[in-house]
């Protein structure tokens, strides 16, 4: 197995809860001794309900949060070493939830150029990278538009293009679809899969929509900062009761199959798509 692109060992992050007057109330452990390895080229979904620590975890992958002890390595680089932060951010790009709050440029192509500009890439090379990112995300026609005139899904694609122009080996998407309509959500998830398959970029998708995790190679379920479950989508979605106990939904069709099986229908363990269910029922 090649060396993990993301490696964490006993990653712990605590913060002090305060009441309205600012007096400490107690300590919350957002991430609790988390150890995991993500192989290059993988598509990993990290799911969990609000407050499960998934966003806090994501911020450690980009050295936006730094652990107190050595605990996170991105492509072998320890995130505690400050002089490596730029390298780490070039290796693991990050896309955030709200597209409006992460687009800096007033023109689509200028925003995409922002990362490479910061990295000091020569002008001709920036041009190449921007054109490539525009093409990969099918934004060529929007090149000179103002980001304000794009739909939510398009804006989020601009954000992804901006990260892509930095030529990262890994992209962390932190709830990229939370503010989008269903169409925009599908658009973003499709894009993430395409980049993973065609460009071989490692994708770490953080989400609380379980439907979005169905096509991942590997799902990690977080709860209270710990790994509650992990495995292939089929393995994870087979454990419907446990997921429901964690207040996570399963895809509708999986739940339907689960209910039918409980009523005595002979169905395989985890059904992930409508087609699979239709096939299982018609045999």
């Amino acid at each position: 197995m090649p060396e993990a692109i993301v490696k964490t060992r006993n990653l712990t992050y605590e913060y002090i809860r305060r009441d309205a007057e600012g007096n400490p109330e107690g300590v919350t452990t957002a991430v609790d001794h988390l150890s995991l390895d993500i192989a290059p080229g993988a598509f990993v979904a990290i799911v969990g309900r609000n407050g499960s620590g998934k966003s806090t975890f994501a911020r450690h992958l980009n050295a936006l949060l730094v652990p107190e002890e050595s605990a996170v390595w991105i492509n072998g680089m320890d995130t505690r070493e400050e002089e490596k932060h730029l390298d780490i951010r070039m290796t693991a790009g990050m896309v955030f939830q709200n597209p409006d709050n992460q687009i800096i440029g007033q023109v689509v192509e200028e925003d995409i150029a922002f990362g490479p500009e910061n990295m000091g890439v020569p002008t001709e090379e920036i041009r190449l990278r921007v054109d490539e990112a525009l093409q990969l995300l099918k934004l060529e026609k929007k090149r000179l538009d103002s980001p304000n005139r794009l739909s939510g899904g398009q804006k989020q694609r601009v954000s992804i293009a901006g990260v892509l122009a930095m030529r990262p080996r890994c992209i962390v998407l932190d709830e990229p679809t939370a503010m989008l309509d269903p169409q925009g959500r599908a658009e973003v998830i499709r894009t993430a899969h395409r980049l993973n398959r065609k460009e071989g970029i490692t994708v770490i998708l953080i989400t609380h929509h379980m439907e979005e995790a169905v096509d991942a190679d590997h799902i990690i379920v977080l709860d209270k900062g710990k790994i509650a479950m992990q495995g292939s989508p089929r393995e994870v979605f087979a454990r419907v009761e446990e997921l429901r106990a964690l207040r996570l939904s399963v895809p509708q069709v999986t739940y339907l199959a689960y209910l039918l099986r409980r009523k005595g229908l002979a169905l395989p363990d985890a059904i992930l798509t409508v087609e699979e269910l239709v096939e299982a029922l018609t045999v």
Partner: protein, 265 residues
């Protein structure tokens, strides 16, 4: 909040549009300065002629420019009235407590013309230059100030972020306004004081959300390797071309003409 026209850009394909923004910025600045030295009709005629020639070259409809100037009309009126009535000198006519002097009338006319040309020139500049290029030009133009530890890059970055967020925040203001109206807030009623007070439920949520946005944006910028202006390259670096040199020469000729006219008369 609606109809903000700062840095309004008029898309067209004119020689002025393609000029390096530094040329336009510097020349506009010099034009405004020389305006304040102009003290005779000939100099004003030349300055006005030059400004209108620029309007013509820019292909921006004059109507559009004049409409954008309505905002300064009030300021111009106050200035003119003050000059008209408060300048001592040879009496022309007087009624009640007001006296108009010859010097006052001259001064008022000059001030009006000066203000008009000043706004005209700056409008031509902003109408032919995208806000982006303007901030770029400012960053480059202010570079010498770095010697005095002026954070030139940071100021330019702040300006361009502000420009990017104006439409977003004005949209948000509209949203909050409607939300508060739905709960019975009245924004258009009562006297000035009452109206000002009614803005509080509008401004407080707007402020809170702006701070959240700012902190999100800072994080996103950091994630994309932003670390100040050091070692930064540009997708569209500013480079002087032959046409920019020609523009400088034309402007220098105009400037020389102005100086001669101011000196001679």
């Amino acid at each position: 909040m609606r109809g903000i026209s700062i840095g309004q850009y008029y898309q067209a394909d004119s020689p002025l549009h393609v000029l390096d923004p530094r040329v336009k910025l510097l020349c506009t600045l010099a034009y405004i300065i020389i305006l304040f030295f102009a003290d005779n009709p000939f100099a004003y005629a030349l300055a006005a002629g030059f400004a209108f020639a620029m309007v013509f070259i820019s292909t921006v409809p004059l109507r559009l420019i004049l409409r954008g100037m309505r905002g300064v009309l009030f300021l111009a009126l106050v200035t003119v009235l003050f000059n008209l009535f408060l300048t001592p000198g040879e009496e022309l006519l007087s009624f009640w407590i007001f006296t108009v002097t010859r010097e006052g009338a001259e001064m008022a006319a000059m001030m009006a013309l000066r203000l008009f040309l000043l706004v005209l020139a700056s409008s031509v500049m902003t109408l032919t230059t995208t806000p982006n290029k303007l901030t770029d030009a400012l960053e480059r133009g202010m570079r010498p100030l770095r010697v005095f530890r002026v954070p030139v890059h940071e100021i330019a970055m702040m300006m361009s972020i502000a420009l990017r967020f104006i439409p977003i925040l004005s949209e948000e203001t509209e949203k909050i306004r409607k939300a508060q109206m739905a709960r019975g807030a009245a924004f258009d009623e009562g006297n000035v004081l009452k109206r000002a007070k009614s803005l509080i439920p509008l401004l407080v949520p707007l402020f809170v959300s702006s701070f959240r946005r700012a902190s999100d944006l800072a994080l996103a910028m950091e994630a994309r390797c932003y670390h100040g202006g050091k070692g930064r390259t540009r997708l569209h670096p500013l480079r002087y071309e032959a046409r920019d040199v020609i523009a400088y020469l034309i402007f220098a000729a105009f400037l020389a003409g102005m100086i001669v006219l101011i000196r001679v008369f």
